[in-house]
């Protein structure tokens, strides 16, 4: 087997080869590093590499494999989004304000990947503080879509999605606050999953909006995403919102197929404004596949869909404005420490350290929480959040899972939406409802439109990851549409 081939494999296939001894974890690292050296100057998925970690972790994996030990991800090369702390590895949330920051601890989700035997290749690019849908808000550089380098990979976890799509990592972790895993997965033609709020510990995640953020996997197959999710799931004493649910719950009966399942198609999502005809056609074809497999496709309604974006753009900025208050130039990161007084230290540090989208959201959130506006904006948005949650509760009385497009459009050209924030926000119109309601959701490849990947989203009731995975797996198997590795150049 040539080194190039090793970057095309799924986790399942790789674990078999490692067990047989026909490849080593060190071989896998070499193959991925060679591919990264060739392709990443074009794709720009990574911000930094972690050679010390990969050498140590691959050597340890090879030692354990020789001893006959098995672990769910032993020897598998992974990439980590730049919002997840890794002890001693520069972690910046795509921002200048955290330049040089080396966390003194490791995020629980990352630690669990390491404990399962994963080998870290590097840190992936993202929109600054995970705010964006194209990775163009990174303060370092934009990442490119591996299927068309003139287009965006989606965001905010665009680096993680692009790395997996380009064969520059076998798995990656991302975070999803309004669609930041599912939308880039759709635009890059890979599998991406956002878990139920509370499924995965957020300890060590640089917070954006704490009531919405969740960590989840990118992979090139539904099985690989499911295994990774089970590895990172579960109760953690270090996150008070992590739920006491068994990690293996996410895998229960997920190979059962869709025969007899009721899959709801919300008409507000199906007919969403701005949906491209090619995307709609791919979704129609996917619904046919699911119907052929014995699923019953039912019409459902999410009547408050038109208010979701508005509620989200109060709640998420409000939470971000308080979370980002900690970046004050005192304890870490960029600092104007020689300013004449403490107020000037704050003003100047934050003026230099934050990019325009972050400033926009901090101001919007501060405004919505400020005296005289709290009831009209923040409280109102929280009430509308209740209505949106109820919409989903009612829809799930009529169906087992909800299916739709993940994104109304395929990947768009760089620069197409950067001048108009609202047009960028609309990228998440089909995904943010899942965050407001705390639902698990997965995006899987379902064909192409004009040669660019289209994603199928499956949303399930809270704690129903296995239901979403079951639909996704049945579709993947029946459609024979697999996440492929982009050739790039």
């Amino acid at each position: 087997m040539t080194n190039g081939d090793l970057t095309q494999l799924t986790v399942k296939e790789t674990l078999r080869l490692l067990r047989l001894g026909s490849v080593s974890a060190a071989d896998l690292v070499t193959a991925h590093v060679e591919r990264i050296e060739r392709l990443d100057p074009h794709v720009k998925a990574y911000l930094r590499f972690t050679p010390e970690l990969w050498e140590k972790q691959a050597a340890e994996a090879d030692r354990l494999i020789r001893q006959g030990e098995t672990r769910p991800l032993l020897g598998i090369p992974v990439a980590i989004k730049d919002v997840l702390c890794v002890r001693g590895v520069e972690t910046t949330a795509g921002s200048q304000i955290l330049k040089g920051f080396k966390p003194p601890y490791t995020a629980t989700a990352v630690q669990r990947l390491f404990d399962a035997g994963a080998v870290m290749l590097g840190v992936t690019n993202c929109d600054e503080f995970a705010m964006g849908s194209s990775t163009e808000n990174s303060s370092y550089f934009p990442t490119r879509n591996p299927w068309d380098l003139a287009r965006v990979p989606g965001g905010s976890s665009g680096g993680s999605a692009a790395a997996v799509a380009a064969g520059e990592a076998m798995l990656a972790l991302g975070t999803d606050t309004g669609g930041s895993i599912r939308q880039p997965a759709a635009l890059c033609g890979v599998v991406g999953m956002k878990p139920t709020y509370g499924r995965v510990s957020r300890y060590g995640l640089i917070a954006f909006a704490s009531s919405l953020d969740q960590i989840g996997p990118f992979a090139r197959s539904v099985d690989d995403a499911a295994i990774t999710l089970s590895v990172i799931s579960g109760l953690d004493d270090l996150d008070a919102t992590s739920a006491d649910r068994a990690p293996m719950e996410v895998l229960s009966n997920f190979g059962g197929g869709v025969k007899g399942m009721r899959l709801g198609v919300p008409r507000e999502y199906y007919e969403v404004e701005g949906i491209e005809p090619g995307v709609k056609a791919a979704i129609d074809a996917a619904l046919d596949v699911l119907r052929m497999q014995g699923a019953e496709i039912v019409d459902v309604s999410l009547p408050h869909t038109d208010y979701g974006l508005a509620a989200y753009y109060i709640i998420a900025p409000a939470e971000c404005s308080s979370n980002l208050a900690r970046f004050d130039g005192v304890r870490y990161g960029l600092s104007e420490v020689d300013a004449p007084n403490i107020t000037e230290l704050y003003l100047e540090t934050r003026r230099k350290g934050f990019g325009s989208e972050v400033r926009r959201r901090v101001m919007l959130g501060t405004y919505a929480l400020s005296s005289g506006y709290y009831d009209a904006y923040y409280l109102k948005a929280q009430k509308v959040r209740t209505l949106i949650k109820r919409d989903f509760d009612e829809a799930f009385e009529k169906c087992d899972a909800i299916v739709s497009a993940t994104s109304p459009t395929v990947a768009f050209p760089l620069g197409a939406k950067t001048q108009d924030p609202l047009s960028m926000y609309l990228c998440d119109v089909l995904t943010l409802g899942g965050n407001l309601a705390g639902l698990p959701g997965i995006s899987i490849p379902c064909g192409t439109s004009d040669g660019l990947p289209v994603g199928l989203q499956v949303l399930a009731p809270q704690w129903g990851e296995n239901v979403a995975l079951r639909v996704a797996r049945a579709y993947e198997e029946a459609s024979r549409i697999r996440a492929e590795v982009a050739e790039v150049v």
């Binding site: 107020t343 003003l347 400033r359």
Partner: protein, 97 residues
């Protein structure tokens, strides 16, 4: 509801965000556009609807109040932009009398 330049200046100060020349106008225009979309929330009658701050039912758990290891002073200060005598150094907080 459109946002004025004065309101942008006020909000930026509340958030301790330094503004550059021209910023007020730029953000007043952009934030007004976003708020115009957000104003559709006012169409909904939410009189009887309780607010949702947290969507998943998770009951608070308390750990045992036992001492456990934490960061050392050296680790806590490792990322400090400026440290002196084991403390974070900041500019003067009080004006001289």
């Amino acid at each position: 509801m459109p946002l004025s330049k004065d309101e942008v200046r006020h909000v930026a100060m509340l958030a301790r965000l330094g503004v550059e020349p021209g910023d007020e106008e730029y953000y007043a225009e952009q934030l007004s556009g976003i708020l115009e979309h957000i104003d559709r929330l006012q169409q909904l009658d939410t009189g009887d609807i309780p607010p949702t701050a947290q969507v998943v039912e998770i009951s608070s758990r308390l750990r045992e109040d036992d001492p456990r290891p934490s960061l050392t002073q050296e680790e806590a200060l490792a990322n400090a932009p400026a440290a002196v005598n084991g403390m974070f150094r900041v500019p003067s907080i009080q004006e001289e009398a």
